[in-house]
Symmetry: C2
Subunit: 340 residues, 2 copies
DNA sequence: GAATCTTACGCAAACGTTTGCGTGTGGAAA
DNA sequence: TTTCCACACGCAAACGTTTGCGTAAGATTC
């Protein structure tokens, strides 16, 4: 079991100094051609790789990006990560992914862990609990220590930093308008409780679209789900005997569940009720009927977020006091669940 | 923008030496109570956090686990990661996730990157390309440098190390037997090309189950898919006018696609054809009809893999020359696609 | 043969820690 | 007053790099 070889060992073997080895490997003109070749051959033979840790310590940067997301088993977030990885790897950055599991504490711990030397900057979508508690000290502290942060999707208005979002309200409006345009007039919405920022925004978009058609908002057409685990029962009760011709669901699971529940209640999608979802994931695509949905373009979000972060990391800190919010376009992916 | 505070700065402010500060923060008896309190108060005030990089360099370990998986946007792999994170975090380890994107080169690059200082050990499921090329030098090198590796799911028999797998053949046999037990006799299989280890094993299990019932293997009942992206067309052609009463698909996508195709061809699931899949993911659960499937218990795999790795990391290297292969039980999750 | 210039290398500091050991100070014992 | 012992602290090395600068030895110039 040969241990990893260091400059020091090479130096000793070749009976030169450490600095000579280091310079030789970098093809410094200071070192004679002869020595350079000898060192390089030796290094290759022993498969020398510089120790990243030592480099990080010396350079005071790690060339790695920390990504913290609320859930790792989640299609949307993983597509975002895919986008981040693409540009990060292209620019020589490593990506460390941590999941907060929607726990405030775990978010703080992960952030502090990565902030104390493991990452140069962060791409972050905050945990539910964080949105509820409104405690953002960990993010503020990280930023005040000079580490840039890019927030995406579940962002926080009070924090001044780069952000990548979609226009959730607009997307929801687009979804609702699509339902309206195919003739639906009794449109229910299945959404989340209000403290989830995106849920609230999507609800707003839904309401705005209704107003555009002079359709009064009906309390009984709005279902706000707190406990996702038990959504099927809630949705079932909500939908039973309700005189609706369309459902707008703010995520995939709600859309799929609504479809299932409607089937059980003897209604067919899209003939009796049209359904539209949010987030273009694997479920919407493969479900029967396939679900019309609003695509968030997760990969694009990741790409933009990574670019923003790397820009901040690589520009001189002097000119860094300018923050941008990138709004990714949503688009309507029309499938069978809204074909009348 | 206050920079991160170091021992040196605290030492200077308090006019003591760096070592005094370090020892004081560790409550060393060497330091007077008075000084200890002063230092701690100051450290808290300035929110001192030891620099992980420096610690890693000093201790020659990073307390982080490198996980490399073929795809990040993949339900099974993310559940495994979930399991890894659980035990890693509980034991004070960080988790770095990298995806090889099924590319051999990216797998090598990621591994070398993490191996050169960023991680103490690896949990790895190899890329398709790696299985095809049979080039494992990067794994061998990593291990010979003293970094333990745990392989899971897509493992490599030739490599001697800890492994966590399911008994793919047995799982496939269980699936096929289930179909046989409900009366199916003309069972097709939709599988992958043979160089994917798990695909081949599952095919073997299918064949073994058939033999158990003295059913001859029929070439025309076996579809091996190379290009997953185009599987719908292949499956459609394969299934057309075929006299079968059941399909065993080696993954979720194939199972869902088969169901869809059968529907289009005028057959219903499960009445005309029963379907069983492999991997208990989000699709199987929510599809209509919900799909009977073999669960791989991804989270368990992650948990076991992390435990194996951490054991290796924390035991004395002397007694480390013993490798274990953990076989996770698969289980049949019966849903509607096989209810006659 | 002396003065100067090149060439080829080594020294040492720095990044932020930890820790074994050395040491100055003060008080107590003799 | 001398000796000794705790006590409280600092020194320095080490982890593996990079890099500016100093400096030998040899080559060149006059």
């Amino acid at each position: 079991m040969k241990q990893k070889v260091t400059l020091k060992q090479i130096a000793k073997e070749l009976d030169v100094s450490i600095s000579t080895v280091s310079k030789a490997l970098k093809d410094s003109a200071e070192i004679s051609l002869d020595t350079r070749q000898k060192v390089k051959a030796f290094a290759k033979l022993y498969n020398y790789k510089p120790n990243n840790i030592a480099l990080s310590l010396k350079n005071r940067k790690t060339k790695t990006i920390g990504v913290i997301i609320p859930e790792i088993v989640h299609h949307f977030f993983t597509t975002v990560i895919g986008g981040v990885e693409k540009v990060a790897n292209a620019k020589g950055y490593n990506v460390i992914i941590c999941s907060s599991n929607n726990s405030f504490d775990k978010e703080v711990i992960n952030m502090e862990m990565l902030a104390s030397g493991s990452a140069d900057g962060f791409i972050l979508s905050v945990a539910k609990e964080t949105q509820l508690k409104k405690d953002y000290h960990h993010i503020q502290e990280t930023m005040s220590q000079g580490m840039p942060v890019v927030l995406f999707d579940r962002i926080i208005d009070e924090i001044v930093c780069d952000k990548v979002i979609i226009d959730d309200a607009k997307g929801a409006q687009m979804a609702t308008n699509h339902l309206l345009s195919i003739g639906c007039r009794n449109i229910a919405i299945i959404t989340t409780v209000d403290y989830i920022s995106v849920g609230k925004l999507r609800t707003n978009g839904y309401l705005r679209a209704l107003r555009g058609y002079d359709i009064p908002e009906k309390e009984e057409f709005i279902l706000k789900i707190e406990d996702v685990g038990n959504c099927e029962a809630e949705i079932s009760e909500f939908l039973l005997n309700k005189d609706i011709d369309a459902v707008f669901a703010v995520n995939e699971l709600f859309a799929v569940t609504a479809t299932k529940v409607l089937n059980e209640q003897g209604k067919t999608v899209p003939n009796d009720v049209a359904i539209i979802g949010f987030t273009d994931g694997i479920l919407s695509k493969h479900f029967i009927p396939s679900l019309t949905t609003i695509s968030q373009h997760g990969e694009d979000m990741g790409i933009r977020a990574a670019k923003l972060l790397i820009d901040k990391l690589e520009c001189d800190d002097t000119e860094a006091e300018e923050y941008r919010t990138v709004i990714i376009d949503t688009s309507l992916v029309e499938r069978k669940s809204t074909k009348k």
